[in-house]
Amino acid sequence: MTRVFVDAWDPSYGASFEGGEGGDGPGSSSSAQVDVEVEVPAAEWAPIDVSAGARVPDVVFLVDGVRRNDAQVWTAEDDGTSYAGLAASFAAGVVRCDLARGAAELAVARVSRGLFTASPSLGDVRAGTVRYEVHRVSGPGEASKLPAAVQGPLTALEIEISSAARDSGSDGTDLLIVDGPLRNRRQLPRTIGYVKTQQKHYLPAAQEAIVPRLRPGQRTPVFQIGTVWGGWSWYLRLPGSSGAPWSGIVRVECSPELSPEQAIELAEVSLATLPRFASSAYKDPRAPQNLVPIAGLERRLRGMLGDARVLHRALARDSARAF
């Protein structure tokens, strides 16, 4: 008989894997070249437990960013045309978890605001005490495309503060966890990307069958994805999952510039480190994948974005006054 599992994630966040039918894993298959024989031969793939000698870093940095659309604006150009614009606030922060000392603190946080539009004439917009810097979007700039444009500046902000956080308090053995794929953050040292949502199949069927067999605190061997944004990667299962085959599974990646040995070492470190950060279902709608420090960081960052209604009202008032 087919068993049924309720996904731990709140339905409004989608599922932790964008499944095909029957919850059997990621939906679309990736066209990427995958090398599964990095750590063990393909035929010997099996779940890997945390090794006894695995190093747990004393200090773990976690980076994340949040964004919010404050207002949708329209411009009235001199020639009678109109462009859509998006006033957005975004913030990025780094949590420094000192596990030896038992203290997690917000190491760096930065808030930025931008007005994303294709209008060629619009300048910075002031709303009360804050300023929305204009980010000019190329192309026709339809309203529906604008939200995606926020991601670029946000990622840039995350990279900027990641290095800034390490400048002040790094002991050379720490670990930096980036929320989401590494993409262009791969040059950061000792850094892993942490992918919560599994949208693509990377592994061949034989190896992928190993993933649902992982128990909490186990990982798959390291494999290599041969795409532009690829690199070394592995799956691991966090504790606190509902028991569904792909629940609590995350994919972790690291920079392709590392040697296979370095990648395997990072995989060991991640397996020893990540499970203790897993969140519990009643506290977080995306448990266990949404890590506790990340959830705390997001709350703090959202607080720093300021009150949306105040900003919206200030924008409306100041733009009305300008004419």
Binding site: L99, G102, A104, F277, K283, G296
Partner: protein
């Protein structure tokens, strides 16, 4: 104008997440700083068209919480180092002074400073007190003062001290306050000339006020020095104790203090002449009681017909030389049909007479040692503060309830009448009376309660200051409590603390009063809108035999005086010209 320019003492900023009002506001405490209860802080509000307003206050509540935590269990994740959160402390400030008086709220975000020196004095209104009596130190270790205007009758008088017995140290605080009045010099000549009448109702702990305390250490001495007081015992004390029961010589009944104690008693002649009979009865003024008319007519009869005779009295041709004999005679005359009407009037029925007789007979055992007909009349035996030392201690602890009431009632009445006769408010007389709820209960009426009410209501102008102590202010006559300008609270019983009599305590202070340590009092004075937490030093005088140092020289002399046939009546011990040869 309170000075707030001291930038180094900044401790936080006014919160914007809770309402800031002119009378109460919250302050977020800067990380790395702290505020504790009772700390004095000051902040400033700039106004567009006039000088800035300085708002000063006292911390009445402090709290700390994790910001960024949603669930109670998040504290484990935070302590584990996985969840970022911030500990944020906040303090509730109750405003004590707004200068100039322009009641605007402090602006959220305004810097809050810890007040010290002149700013602290101004915040607590000490700068406006012309004469300030030190009453201990605040939680910050700096002296706090009592406005003498509210103590000596200038603008108010009377002190009411409440707290459970044993740990509230009510009498210790009362004696310390007296010491401070006498020795601080703040009251000038009034302080030096003032007299104190202390009733010792429990144990013998007030009998050693003039003995140095051998347990006095350097820390206590420096605490006294900080308050500007010498650490010494009371210099001029006279102790009175009742005569020993069944002892015909009238020697004072004390166990531990052997020197410098005088016996007090009333002769039968005084008892009759001064109309003291009503004080024998606890409810002699209660209009619901029928027998009270008998009390008053018998009192009048005794005053009119009793003739002094060799210590005792003579009435109806019969010589009476003891209280028992007097009671027996009165009862006999009242039960006799022929004489009853001359003693009690004609309209009194037998039931009423019996009610009176029953009570009178019941008083024999308790009062016979105090009302004497067998001791020399010219021997000094009366409690009279004007002729006594600066501090007069009347020991009541050996006396049964009825006798205590009699002594307190008669002594206070005598003193008050003396003051009324003199017609001047000086010298001041401080009366310390513990267990006020017994002498002036909320319900009923009695002669002694009338005397206390008189003191509470008119004593201010006559210079009689009542320092009353009680376990429960809610059981004391309301007019006495409301007439007290200064209210002091030590440790309180939880049920008692919630009564309206303690409405002057803010909620947080009411809770603290439940766990106040001995030596900690909350003092409310009319000047300052918030009660101040006061720690007063350990007594510099002995409070029991075991810690008492050598007695002062003057008291040794009165061993002789006790049996001295040449004693000068009304002569003061302690004065150098005391001995007549």
């Amino acid at each position: 104008m309170i000075d707030v320019s001291d930038e180094t003492s900044s401790v936080g900023r006014v919160l914007g997440t809770a309402d800031a009002t002119p009378l109460q506001f919250w302050t977020a405490v800067t990380p790395g700083s702290y505020l504790q209860l009772d700390d004095v802080v000051v902040t400033r509000r700039d106004l567009p068209d006039r000088e800035p307003v300085t708002i000063a206050g006292v911390v009445t509540q402090v709290r700390a919480r994790h910001e960024g935590a949603q669930f109670d269990s998040d504290v484990f994740a935070i302590a584990d180092g996985t969840l970022p959160a911030m500990v944020q402390e906040a303090a509730e400030i109750t405003t004590t002074r707004v200068d100039p008086e322009l009641y605007v709220p402090p602006a959220p975000g305004a810097v809050v400073h810890r007040a010290s020196g002149d700013a602290r004095d101004a915040a607590l209104h000490f700068d406006r007190m012309e004469r300030r009596v030190p009453m201990g130190t605040g939680r910050d270790g700096v002296p706090v003062f009592l406005n003498a205007d509210f103590l000596d009758g200038t603008r108010g008088a009377h002190v009411s001290i409440s707290g459970i017995s044993g740990v509230a140290t009510k009498t210790s605080f009362a004696t310390f306050l007296l010491y401070s009045v006498f020795r601080s010099g703040q009251l000038g000549a009034d302080g030096t000339n003032a007299r104190a009448l202390i009733f010792n109702v429990k144990g013998e702990d007030l009998l050693f006020l003039d003995h140095p305390n051998t347990k006095l250490d350097d820390a206590t001495r420096s605490a006294y020095a900080l308050l500007g007081l010498p650490a010494a015992p009371f210099p001029d004390v006279r102790v009175y104790a009742p005569p020993r029961a069944g002892d015909s010589s009238g020697a004072p009944d004390v166990a531990s203090r052997l020197t410098g104690v005088d016996a007090f008693y009333w002769t039968l002649a005084e008892f009759c002449e001064k109309k003291l009979l009503p004080y024998v009865f606890a409810d002699a003024d209660d209009e619901r009681q029928q027998y009270t008319m008998v009390v008053h007519s018998v009192t009048a009869h005794l005053a009119r017909y009793a003739v002094p005779a060799e210590g005792g009295i003579s009435i109806d041709g019969q010589r009476i030389s003891s209280y028992q004999d007097l009671v027996d005679h009165v009862v006999e005359q009242l039960t006799d049909d022929e004489t009853r009407s001359t003693w009690a009037g004609s309209a009194v029925n037998m039931g009423t007479v019996n009610a009176f007789a029953r009570r009178l007979i019941g008083s024999k055992r308790d009062l016979s040692r105090l009302i004497r007909g067998d001791l020399a009349q010219r021997r000094p035996h009366q409690i009279k503060t004007a002729d006594s030392a600066q501090v007069t201690v009347v020991d009541l602890h050996n006396l049964p309830d009825r006798a205590q009431r009699f002594v307190v009632g008669v002594t206070l009445k005598t003193e008050f009448e003396e003051k009324e006769k003199a017609g001047t408010g000086r010298p001041l007389l401080f009366v310390v009376l513990d267990e006020l709820n017994k002498y002036a209960p909320r319900e009923g009426s009695s002669p002694i309660k009338e005397v206390l009410l008189d003191i509470a209501e008119r004593g201010r102008s006559l210079g009689v200051i009542l320092i009353g102590a009680q376990q429960t202010a809610s059981e004391v006559e309301r007019r006495i409590v409301t007439n007290s300008a200064i209210r002091v609270v030590g440790r309180l019983d939880p049920a008692e603390a919630s009564r309206p009599e303690y409405g002057f305590l803010p909620p947080a202070m009411r809770q603290r009063a439940l766990l106040a340590r001995p030596g900690t009092m909350f003092v409310n004075q009319p000047d300052i809108p918030v009660p101040l937490c006061v720690e007063f030093p350990f007594p510099a005088w002995a409070t029991r035999k075991s810690e008492s140092g050598p007695p002062p020289a003057e008291t040794l002399r009165s061993i002789v005086q006790g049996a001295d046939p040449f004693a000068v009546i009304g002569g003061r011990p302690g004065a150098d010209d005391d001995i007549p040869f």
